[in-house]
Symmetry: C2
C-alpha cells in the first residue's frame, strides 16, 4: 500500500462547505487503496485576523506568543476536517505539529524543522485511519510551539512526505498548476505538465506564487515528487520532479515578472578587494534580502555596484548604503523604485545557446530598454522600467513560443 | 515570596481592552512582590462560536476532535495576555494545558485531572516571569488534548494553586462576590465576606452560578483558600475557606432558588428492601443527575417515592420510571414540571435548632405550600410551586435577617 500526502491551503478550506469538499476528496483517495496523510492550513483569513487581534494589544508582540496565537488557526481546521471525514463514515484523527513530533529550532515565526518523529502517524495509519496534521507549525525540544513562516504548510507536507516515504506529495491550491507565465497578464499562457525542481525554485523566487522556495528546496534535496493541482477540479496539474530526459527539448519553461523590487547603485566605488564584501555584509546584517547584484568591469580605478532589494526595504537599504559609501569612499548612492524584473527560466537553456540573445531581441523589438542583466545556468533576468513590465512579459513569452496551441 | 493564582473568566477577557486591564491587574500583583500564575478562559463567546462552527460540519462531532477544536479558545487568550503583560514591561510566558503537564484521563469533553507536572511553571517563576496557563484543558498520557468540561478553568486554577502551594487562588468574575441571595431577585441581598467550602458547595449545587461544584470539591479536599472577586473593581470579594470559629455566629449564609428542576413521583411502590436501589440504578445508568429524593414511611405496605431531576432530563426519566414501575409493581408515575426549590444554607444551623421551623413559618406566612422537604446538616430545601419562587426567596431571606443594613 502506498502513501499519499495531500496539502490543502487556506482558500481550499475557507468555509465548512469547502472543508466537506476536501473531506470527500481525501476519502476518495483513501478508498482508492492508498494511505493518506492530510496537511491543512488555517481557514481563509484566520491567520490575518489573529494578527490583527494581536495588533490591538501591542505593535511589538513577542514572537513566541505570536506563534502560540496563530498556531490555533490550523488547529481549528484539522479538528473540523477530522469531523467531516468521520461524518462520511471513515476514521480520521487530527494532530497538531507538536503532537506528531515536528521538532524545530526556536527561531519563532520562522522556525526550521530539525526532525520529525513520525511514530504516532505510522501507528494511526496502521489502524487504517486518515491522519490529519496541522501545517505551518512545530515545537522546540522544550515543547514550545513554533511556526515555520510563510509557506510553512507546504514545508510541513513536503517534510512529512519525505520521512513517511510517500509516493507523491499533492499540493492543492486555487490554481490548476504552473503556467508558462501569469495567466492574469498573458492570457495565452500554457499550463506545464512537468517542470523540474530547479525551474520551480527559480519560478518561485521570481514571484510565481504557487509554492515557496523553501519547500521546493527541501523537495529537491530529498527528491520528493510533487503534484501541484487545483482543489476545485479533478484535472491533473503540474508534476514537479527531478530533471528527466524528455524535458530536454523544452528550452524555456516560463517567463515571470517581478514588480516588487527597487534598484540601488553605489557609484564610484574604489575597485579594491574586499569592498563588495563590506557593502553586502552590512546590508545582510540588517536582514534585507538582496536579489540581483551587478558589478561592471572597472575602467578608471572605480566601479559602479548595483543591486535590487524588496521595495519595502529600500529606505533602510539606502541608509546603510550611504553610511557604507562614506566609509569606503564611494562617490554617491542612487536608486530607482520604478523598475520591474522580467525573467526566463528553463533547464533546457543550459545546453542551448542564443537564449539570452533571443530575449534581448524580443525586448528591443518592443523598444524596451534593459537596465540590468543577470544570468544563471537556468535563468536570465532583465531589469526594465516598470511601466513596460506586462508588454515585456508578453513579448518574451511569444518569442519563446510558449503560447498554448489553442490560445 | 508567596504565590498567588489568579483566574479570569471569559467575560473578564472579552476584548483587547479588557485583556489589557487584566494585564495591569496581574502586573500590580507581581509588583507587590508575589509570584503570579494566571489562568484564563476563552475570549467571551469564542467557545460557543467554535461549537457553532462544528455544527456546520456535523451534528455528531467526535469528542476528541471537539476538544482539539475548542481548546484553541484559551490558547488565543493566553498568547494575547502574555503580549499585553510584556507591553507593560514585565516578563510573562504562556502555556497550554498540555505544555504545563496537566495530565488527564481520556474522557474527552469532561476529562478528570490525574496529575500536574509543575516543573516548567516553577522554572519560569524562578526566572521572575508571570506564568499564564490556558484554563479548561489538559492532555492524556498519549498527548491527546482534552477539555475539563463546564467550569473547567476554575478547576485548572484550583488544581494549580494546590500543586504550587499558592497562598491564595483568586477567582475573578463579573460579580463582586457571593451574596446571601441572587441580587437580581432580592435587591437587599448582602455580600458575604466569608463562607465555608461546604456552604459554597451547597450554594453552587443549588444554582448560585459563581463557581462549579467540582472545583469547590477539589478546593475543599486540599484546603485551597479561594477569593471570589470582581475583575472590574479592587474591592475585596468573598473568601472561601475552612470553617473558622468566627463563622459560628452566622447561622444561615444564603438563600437560593432553583427553577430548573422537575419532580417525578412513583406512587404505590411495594415497600420491600431493594426497591429504591432498583429505581435509582436504572436512572443513574442513563446519566441523569437526581437531586432530592424523598420516601415517606410506609403505612399500607406500599409507599410513594419522589425525586427531582433537571427539566431537560424529564422525558427520559419518565420513560425509565414507567418501565421500572411496571417491573417492580408500582401503581403509577406522576410528575410536575412547574416547581421551584428554595434552600437555606449555613454551617451555623448544625448547632442551632429551629432553623427549619423558621423557614417553614416564613413560607406559611406568605401562604406558600411546601410539596417536598429535604434537609442536610447545612441545608434545608423546600419544593414549592414555581410561580411563588421569588416571593419565597424574599420571605426566607427576610426571616433570617440577611438583608444588608443599608439595603
Amino acid at each position: 500500500m502506498a502513501l499519499v500526502v495531500q496539502k490543502f491551503g487556506g482558500s481550499s478550506v475557507a468555509n465548512p462547505r469547502l472543508i466537506k469538499r476536501v473531506a470527500a476528496r481525501v476519502v476518495a483517495q483513501k478508498k482508492r487503496g492508498d494511505d493518506v496523510v492530510v496537511v491543512v492550513s488555517a481557514i481563509g483569513d484566520t491567520t490575518d485576523d489573529l494578527i490583527q487581534l494581536s495588533r490591538q494589544i501591542t505593535k511589538n508582540p513577542l514572537e513566541r506568543e505570536m506563534d502560540m496565537l496563530i498556531s490555533t488557526g490550523e488547529q481549528v481546521t484539522i479538528a473540523l476536517l477530522a469531523m467531516a471525514i468521520h461524518q462520511l463514515g471513515v476514521e480520521a484523527i487530527s494532530f497538531t505539529g507538536a503532537q506528531v513530533g515536528i521538532l524545530t529550532d526556536s527561531s519563532y515565526t520562522k522556525a526550521k524543522i530539525l526532525d520529525i518523529h513520525s511514530k504516532r502517524i505510522e501507528e494511526e495509519l496502521k489502524k487504517g485511519r486518515i491522519v490529519i496534521v496541522a501545517g505551518f507549525q512545530g515545537m522546540t525540544l522544550n515543547q514550545d510551539i513554533t511556526t515555520l513562516g510563510r509557506g510553512g504548510s507546504d514545508l510541513t507536507a513536503v517534510a512529512l512526505a519525505k520521512v513517511l516515504r510517500a509516493k507523491i506529495c499533492e499540493i492543492y491550491t486555487d490554481v490548476d498548476g504552473v503556467y508558462t507565465a501569469d495567466p492574469r497578464i498573458e492570457k495565452r499562457a500554457r499550463k506545464l505538465d512537468r517542470v523540474s525542481y530547479d525551474e520551480m525554485l527559480e519560478l518561485a523566487s521570481l514571484g510565481a506564487q504557487v509554492m515557496q522556495g523553501r519547500s521546493m528546496e527541501v523537495a529537491k534535496k530529498f527528491e520528493v515528487p510533487l503534484h501541484i493541482r487545483s482543489s476545485f477540479s479533478n484535472r491533473p496539474g503540474t508534476m514537479i520532479m527531478k530533471e528527466v530526459k524528455a524535458m530536454e527539448d523544452i528550452v524555456v519553461s516560463g517567463v515571470t515578472v517581478n514588480k516588487a523590487e527597487a534598484k540601488v547603485t553605489l557609484r564610484g566605488v574604489p575597485d579594491r578587494p574586499g569592498v563588495a564584501a563590506k557593502i553586502f555584509k552590512e546590508i545582510a546584517a540588517s536582514n534585507v534580502n538582496i536579489d540581483m547584484i551587478i558589478q561592471n568591469v572597472s575602467r578608471t580605478g572605480t566601479t559602479d555596484v548595483s543591486f535590487t532589494v524588496p521595495q519595502g526595504d529600500l529606505r533602510k537599504t539606502l541608509e546603510i548604503s550611504r553610511r557604507v559609501a562614506r566609509k569606503i569612499g564611494a562617490e554617491q548612492v542612487t536608486y530607482a523604485d520604478d523598475i520591474a524584473k522580467v525573467s526566463v527560466v528553463g533547464v533546457g537553456m543550459r545546453s542551448h545557446s542564443g537564449i539570452a540573445a533571443k530575449m534581448f531581441a524580443a525586448l528591443a523589438a518592443k523598444r524596451i530598454n534593459i537596465e540590468m542583466i543577470s544570468t544563471s545556468e537556468i535563468k536570465i533576468s532583465c531589469v526594465i522600467q516598470r511601466r513596460f513590465a506586462e508588454r515585456a512579459l508578453r513579448a518574451v513569452h511569444q518569442a519563446f513560443g510558449l503560447h498554448a496551441l489553442k490560445g
